[in-house]
């Protein structure tokens, strides 16, 4: 694989709740796990056929119709909910914010 293009794996970073960009203001930090990398290795007959038929223009539909012919590096399961106290001393719980498996 080209340099720097490692395969799809779970990565993590310690970020503050505010940095999540969800609109909550809290200095609490959490371990944000996400999926990154390429997953060419997981292709199926479907992917090969779809890519071939797209290139051959066999499937019609406009250029806009997004047809993905390779699996995406995406979470398959998510971490438990995360709860925190915001800077106005109110509790919140966020669901499905951190990945568990890719």
């Amino acid at each position: 694989a080209r340099k720097g293009r490692s395969s799809c794996t779970l990565r993590e970073a310690v970020v503050s709740v505010s940095e999540l960009g969800l609109g909550y203001e809290s200095d609490e930090t959490l371990l944000f796990r996400y999926c990154s990398g390429r997953c060419v290795a997981h292709r199926r007959n479907y992917d090969v056929s779809l890519e071939h038929m797209k290139r051959a223009g066999l499937l019609g539909g406009s250029r806009q119709d997004k047809m993905r012919h390779s699996p995406c590096c995406r979470p398959t399961t998510y971490d438990d909910d995360i709860s925190f106290l915001d800077n106005k001393n109110r509790y919140y719980t966020i669901h499905e914010v951190s990945a568990r498996e890719c």
Binding site: E28, D80, D81, S83, F84, Y91, Y92
Partner: protein, 423 residues
Amino acid sequence: VSSSALTASGAHGLRTPVDCVKASDMCNQNPQCSSRYRIMRQCLVGKDRNTMLANKECQVALEVLQESPLYDCRCKRGMKKELQCLQSYWSIHMGLSEGEEFYETSPYEPVTIQHSDVFRLASIISGMDPATAKGNQCLDQGKPCNSCLDAAKACNLNDTCKKQRSHYISTCNKDTTAQAGARAELCNRKRCHKALRLFFDRVQTEYTYRMLFCPCRDTACAERRRQTIVPSCAFEEKVKPNCLELRKTCRSDPLCRSRLADFHTNCQTTPHSITNCPNENYQACLASYVGLIGSDMTLNYVDASYANITISPWCTCRGSGNQEEECEKFLSDFRDNTCLRNSIHAFGYGPDSGPFAKPVAVTPSPRPDAEPVRLSEPSVNQNDIKDDACVFSTCANLKENGPKCNLSNDYFCKDEPKLISME
């Protein structure tokens, strides 16, 4: 089979206490003991306990059980079948005790560790917390610091702590609207308490204690500390019950009763000690405090003051009638507890930071009946006395030395209106 065969006697005939689950199993395996045990439980179930226990059979049952390992069995915090152990303890204890005692003996085996690892760990952790790579400003007096925020951060970076914390918060924080009144109704307090107990049982004390006893230097930090147990659901209620009523409710539940007895055993202010704690054991007191969280007698900081903390259950002594003094005494065991304050302070600033709250000046103040933990009489000889008492060679000298002769803060001499006649 003589009842003494039941005893798991130790070396010199003294019984080594076993846990109450084992003790009741041992008793159940002995026909004589198990029948007596069954009789005694029936004796105690009766509505009017006194008349029930007046009958001969109950008395005999109790006598036999006195000799069985059930008599001084104990339980361990977090042991398997803890609740069953506690139920056995209280069933036998109710038979043997002389009715409602102000302080009940803790069913738990004493926590023997002195200033244990939880203190050293806390001071180590707050010193160089690997997770908060930004270092811990709390050590640097100058920088603004929020050790409770750091504790929450540390928890969020530990999977177990994060998961259990999120579980109790989402359980207790069911409703998110602003009206506190409405919220108090909507949250399921029982479920919230259960989730809190799970959190403190399953997560290591290095995380839970840090969130509960973090030292604060400002109101924001203290308010975060107060919010740790989601008080709007776990602590506050619309109407404050009478504290004696709350105690009765607690004592009708074996777990709460045990945790309350444990708190009284391990946190009762002991004037004659350096730390003000029984056996100088901060750790045991903190463990007892945490043990009460998630029970009917859940405790919490009453406000966000960081200078002097006040801990209290959610109850009032209003409407106590002639039992007001007993109620005030019960409440003051929480609100004016120097052992508890010192323990929390010690956790925050290290066990050797000296007692935070000076022990109360000891005079035979009218401290209502406490379980008198007596140390031997301090042997004081005559000449030590003279610095303490207001000493005059004879009564006549009273006048010459002026009306006030201020000795130590509690002993002073007043002008005696009439000379004491020397009959």
